[in-house]
């Protein structure tokens, strides 16, 4: 599907306005730094005994009232970072201040401000949803009527009011995830960490979770640290994003700022199957297609388990252009002239995926 160029403009405009509004609305509070992470590193030992940095020298600030996302592929170090700034892991180097309290030197004060939604489903499987919520509520110092009210509210929010007495073990994956999230916000923390809360969730439930995250910020005025390896959701909900790869922060800013880094080019992706693409064609596209700046060809082997040892290849032609819609007809014509069959076309306006590709030369997901 090709996006309407006007829509592209609208989307960008909307984003700019939202950013402006957010900056404006926040004023003093928006500028206030709630979390300050400085030079955080974590070294682990591999099974073979050698050490490596899962997180290296990460520095960032999270401002009060914003949704800050850590975006990075599997194994980038997102969970390790969250574990350190939530007091689970001791940093090898560096520290984090939460509301001014050091997580290493004054952990109890720092943790009091915090709600954590771990990536893993951290629940007691043989207890009911209500019992799980009650127990963790007590650990946050809630009790009596206040606890009951908080539990009921959360059950309502995660839509499990009618299943509250069922054993968590018998819940579906999505329901467990919702309980997992609910525990993190039970005590209405100022700050909530959510580590890949949408992993393994169907689109409908994912939508609900994202809406919940937005409500936490907009209605409950919470500050959210969100991690994901899915750029669409990060792009949608985040005020600011840190891109993390191999344990290092490689870019940090608003979505708009990050996209500016890649020069705001559209990306046209052509699938060409097993056909080779000549270097000459790439050069022709770059010089003849309107607004095109670069063209690349990449051939990926696809191991096909059904076909046994037979591996098929998928050729992908990627063209960067300042106006993708304008370049498209030219490229199709040029391909036609070189007898290249185009199997599918996708036009992507600049997104975080492109930013990641630009910075690392790899796709965010494979």
């Amino acid at each position: 599907m090709l996006p309407d160029p006007r829509e592209t403009v609208l989307v960008r405009l909307a984003r700019a306005i939202r950013q402006r509004c957010a900056d404006h609305k926040g004023d003093a509070s928006m500028q206030e730094t709630l979390v300050q992470v400085r030079g955080l590193s974590k070294q682990f030992k591999r099974d073979n005994g050698e050490t490596f940095f899962a997180v290296k020298d990460v520095t960032l600030e999270i401002r009060r009232g914003e949704i800050f996302s850590l975006l990075g592929p599997n194994g980038a170090g997102k969970t390790t970072t969250i574990s350190m700034i939530s007091g689970l892991l001791t940093p090898t180097q560096g520290d984090a201040l939460i509301g001014g309290n050091s997580i290493t030197k004054n952990p109890l004060a720092a943790k009091k401000m915090l709600g954590v939604v771990p990536q893993e489903i951290a629940l007691y499987p043989t207890l009911s949803a209500r019992q799980n919520l009650q127990f963790f509520g007590k650990m946050h110092g809630l009790g009596g009527k206040e606890l009951d009210r908080a539990v009921d509210e959360v059950l309502d929010l995660i839509d499990l009011g009618d299943r509250d007495r069922d054993k968590v073990d018998n819940f579906s994956g999505g329901m467990k995830r919702r309980v997992n999230i609910g525990i993190g916000m039970l005590h209405k923390p100022q700050l909530i960490y959510m580590d890949e809360p949408t992993v393994g969730i169907d689109p409908q439930n994912r939508r609900r979770i994202l809406d919940t995250v937005l409500r936490l910020r907009d209605e409950l005025k919470m500050t959210v640290l969100y991690t994901s390896h899915l750029m669409e959701e990060v792009q949608e909900i985040s005020d600011r994003v840190g891109i993390i790869d191999h344990g290092q922060m490689i870019a940090l800013g608003t979505v708009g700022e990050l996209i500016q880094k890649v020069g705001e080019e559209d990306r046209l992706i052509f699938k060409v199957g097993e056909q080779p693409v000549a270097e000459a064609l790439l050069r022709r596209i770059e010089s003849e297609a309107a607004t095109a700046t670069r063209a690349r060809y990449e051939r990926r082997e696809i191991a096909n388990s059904d076909a046994g040892a037979l591996a098929t290849a998928e050729g992908i032609l990627t063209v960067y252009a300042t106006r993708g819609r304008k370049a498209l007809p030219d490229i199709i014509r040029l391909a036609d002239e070189s007898s290249l069959d185009i199997l599918s076309v996708e036009v992507r306006e600049p997104d975080l995926e492109a930013v990641f590709l630009h910075l690392t030369g790899r796709a965010l997901r494979d």
Binding site: L88, A122, T126, F135, M139
Partner: protein, 423 residues
């Protein structure tokens, strides 16, 4: 403190959610302690009671002899002296008959009584003059009488009149033991002289001197010194406390896998509170285990806990604390649930028999008894036997309790230093 209790209660709730806990907590240990109790000679005391019947002839009937008999009773709470302690329920099984020397002999042969004790006339007067006097102690021909009766008599004798009486009793005991064959009177006299020498030396060292005679006993003759249920109930209970408490290791592994342990570590509570709550839950499980078996032993099997039963409590606490600390320490050396289950079973099934949970350590060779004391069960059993069989008080069990608490501290220190909340 509130958080610690909340964590402990939550863990207990999770433990009891699993209905099969009742099998391990109640059914199996009861079945096993009854079976082991019979194997240790419980049937012998008839009807499952552990009353130890001893026929006594007090020909002296003086204040001194009464004092002596009292001292014997104090030495063992389960001792019933007949006919002096006869009850309406005919605890002595004498019916209306008067106890004669012949009857006493038959009763001994029929194992109605475990031993006879004769205090000669003039006993009190002789003691008063500081002269030697003998108390005659006879046990079954096949020497099946539990050694603790003899010990009760011996300690009474020792307490009452020192080395002199102790030697006399020792001599009589030697006579009553058929396997101690003396070739002639000179041989016997030499034997007695040796006892006298050792007794005097022992008395100077403030020891129960007659024990030198006991050491010469063939282990086979004291086979049944187990005391049936009074041995099996604390033994099997202590083993089951291990079965109940050591799975803490599994639970820790599981909580780490479930990530709930990590979640707890991100909450505004200290690690000490988390560990404290979890260990408290296991400790309580251990104490419940003890309560179940001791309760069953007392109510259904008639086991009594000496003359100072409250002394049981500090022993139970020290032992359960020790096993709890052991569980924590073990947790830090394993990573999978399989390992946890394996090591729990291995530990319980080696430490239990080694420590005298299945049979009394008195029947095993000295070197095994020494090795057995690496097991906390051995120390606990030393204390329980002291309390149950010899009517010991807190002063008599202070050493085992101290050893258990020291081990608790050491294991706890290892555990806390090595414990990790995340893998």
């Amino acid at each position: 403190m509130q958080r610690i209790l909340d964590i402990a209660l939550n863990d207990l709730r999770i433990i009891f959610k699993d209905r099969s806990i009742w099998i391990n907590l109640v059914i199996l240990p009861i079945v096993i302690s009854v079976a082991v109790g019979y194997a240790n000679g419980a049937g012998f005391t008839g009807g499952g009671t552990v009353s130890l019947r001893v026929d006594g002839f007090d020909a002296d009937a003086s204040a001194m002899s009464a004092q002596f008999l009292d001292a014997v009773r104090a030495g063992n709470a389960n001792l019933v002296l007949c006919p002096m302690d006869q009850t309406e329920a005919d605890l002595c099984q004498l019916g209306d008959e008067a106890l004669t020397a012949e009857l006493a002999q038959t009763r001994l042969e029929d194992k109605v009584s475990l031993a006879t004790l004769e205090i000669p006339s003039g006993f009190g007067a002789a003691l008063a003059r500081g002269e030697a006097v003998s108390v005659i102690y006879r046990s079954n021909e096949d020497a099946t009488a539990p050694s603790y009766i003899l010990q009760a008599v011996q300690s009474a004798a020792t307490r009452l009149s020192g080395a002199q009486i102790a030697v006399q009793v020792g001599g009589q005991v030697a006579d009553s033991l058929s396997f101690l064959q003396f070739s002639d009177d000179a041989d016997r006299a030499a034997f007695l002289e040796e006892i006298r020498g050792r007794a005097a030396a022992g008395w100077a060292a403030d020891l129960i001197t007659v024990e030198t005679v006991q050491a010469a006993l063939d282990p086979a003759t004291t086979q049944t010194s187990g005391g049936g249920f009074a041995q099996s109930i604390p033994g099997i209970a202590s083993m089951y406390v291990m079965f109940t408490v050591l799975p803490a290791a599994s639970a820790f592994i599981l909580e780490r896998k479930n990530w709930t342990l990590q979640r707890l570590a991100t909450l505004p509570i200290s690690r000490a509170q988390i560990l404290g709550g979890k260990l408290l839950a296991r400790f309580v499980m251990g104490m419940i285990q003890y309560a179940v078996l001791f309760g069953f032993g007392a109510l259904a099997l008639g086991v009594t806990f000496g003359s100072q039963p409250l002394t049981m409590l500090p022993v139970m606490i020290a032992y359960t604390a020790c096993v709890t600390a052991l569980a924590l320490a073990l947790t830090t050396f394993i990573t999978t649930d399989m390992q946890a289950q394996g090591i729990t079973l291995f530990m319980s099934l080696t430490l239990a028999p080694l420590g005298g949970a299945w049979w009394p350590l008195e029947i095993v060779p000295e070197w095994m008894r020494v090795i057995g004391h690496v097991s906390p069960i051995a120390w606990a059993m030393d204390a329980y036997r002291e309390i149950i069989f010899y009517g010991g008080g807190i002063g008599d069990v202070i050493v085992p309790i101290a050893v258990l608490l020291a081990a608790t501290a050491a294991l706890f220190a290892i555990g806390v230093a090595r414990f990790r909340f995340s893998k």
